[in-house]
Amino acid sequence: MTLADIAAETYASLTVNKVRSGLTMLGIVIGIASVIAMVSIGQGARGSIEASIQSIGSNLLLVFPGAQRGPGMQVSAGRGSAQSLKQEDADAIAKEVQFVKAVAPEISRRYQVAARGTNTNTQVVGTVPVYPEVRNIQVEEGSFITEAHVQGFSKVAVLGPTARDDLFGEGADAVGQTIRINRVDFKIIGVTKQKGGSGFGSQDDMLFVPLTTAQRFLAGDTYVTTISVQASEQSAMSAVQEEITNILLDRHRIADPALADFSVLNQADIVETASSITNTFTMLLGSIAGISLLVGGIGIMNMMLTTVTERTREIGLRKAIGAKRRDISAQFLAESAALTLLGGVVGVAVGWFIAWGVSRFAGIATSVSWSAVLLACGVSTLIGLVFGYYPARRAAALNPIEALRYE
């Protein structure tokens, strides 16, 4: 029998009982569609979490001060509360650590900010001109803080779009206006571009002032709350992290790294942790969907066994006119593989549609990957072969004499 003959036989026998073939296929369609939809939701979630982590900057390392602890006290005021990082630490990192592209120290705290009758409580970040580059922030209107502002203790501010909306109304022209922070007047020189909620604190509800200004007029001290370090390449991040740790331990005269009064957070670690969470999530969803695929496969096997029983006499006849075992098993395997392959293709289309619907109407990001599609098609055909194998073997092993007599 040629492949064309097998294809013709398969078509003929599957179309004889269209309802049954369709329902059996439906099991596979549902299985594949749910695998595709679930995996795409999982991958979409992973994509959006990674994107939001990347949105705070690329190749970023964050240095935070350690926890505030009094001598001999066991009560901690919390990580990041200590005033252990200085402007000089940032300068040392910039000067001594290799593969560092930019260093942006900042001092941030929440203040009540007022402007012409309105006021809001927002994060005020005192920083340096390189900050937008390091933290992936773009200026929409006006300009960002310049070196001259930092040198001159200028009372200028750059608003985040949310802070601008809260103070001046949505989309209002704020450049040139004055705001009051902690009883000090600041002139607005720019507004940053909207970044969207990132799930790690909005970067839009912020306000930037020169670092020196913040230290002198707002905090009244010279410590910094965070040092953002951008590595020049991703592969160097671990090395940079290590070097920063060594330099700061050295500068702070701490011998035991366990007692460090600061911590260095590597963006790659955050991404990795988030990815491993979403991967687990994807696998969980995928394996639940996989169960329905298995059930679909058992449906195929059930139908094929029924078909073999129903067509016993036909099998007997085919054997009598010269069909070998191989011909018979090829025919039945082709039938189950055709059912699952077709079910797989339809299932991919349905799954794709579900994924589209979920992101369109439920607002959850989804991403259908080619690897998932190919995997689903491959798995469904494999299911056809695996679950079709036993019925096909049963058919092929029938004794022609008994098969011909079968009532």
Partner: protein, 237 residues
Amino acid sequence: MIVCTNITKTYGTGETATPVLKGISFTIKEGEFVAIMGPSGSGKSTLMHILGCLDTPTSGTYVLAGHDVSELSDDELAEVRKNKIGFVFQSFNLLPRASVLRNVALPLSYAGVPREKREAQAVRALAAAGLLEDRWHHLSNQLSGGQMQRVAIARALVNSPAIILADEPTGNLDTKTGEIVLGTFQELNRAHRHTIVLITHERYVAEHADRIIHIQDGAILKDAKNPRTIAARPSHE
């Protein structure tokens, strides 16, 4: 064409061994029309299965068209059936919901005949089996019993087999239709020189053949020419 020497068939072993055929020997020459007749339980079906290469004898030899086929494997037997034997069954065994032409061409797909040649061969076989052309594109389950059996005969003929084995071909037909089908066999034998072996339990069916082998209790009771058909034969015989 067929040489059977001392064929036995025993089912089961030891205490429960049941001998069905107890040493059967006969020869069928090319172009003969032979009826194998016997009551049910006589072993004629078992003999038919052995002649049709659906089964092998317990002992003895069966030589078909010069080849000893008594000890072949399943797949080798399938090969012999494919090339040498055409079957006609009591219950027709056509593929339901398949056209007449597809039914007749079915053995050709196993024999590896190219698709484009199949229809011509199927048409020739249908013409030889005497089925009217307006039925050729019908589905097999839309035909009457007599027509179905002609389709089955055409299917048996399509691959030009060495012998045609007909197992109670009139068993599911009324007398009149049965007569027509038996007439078709006679015609195939006389006009086309096909070798035909007819298995039946009814004397009037067997009497359409030129030679009748009586079987009873697994042995040949009588093997004789049929005087009625010999007399009716054309003189060139």
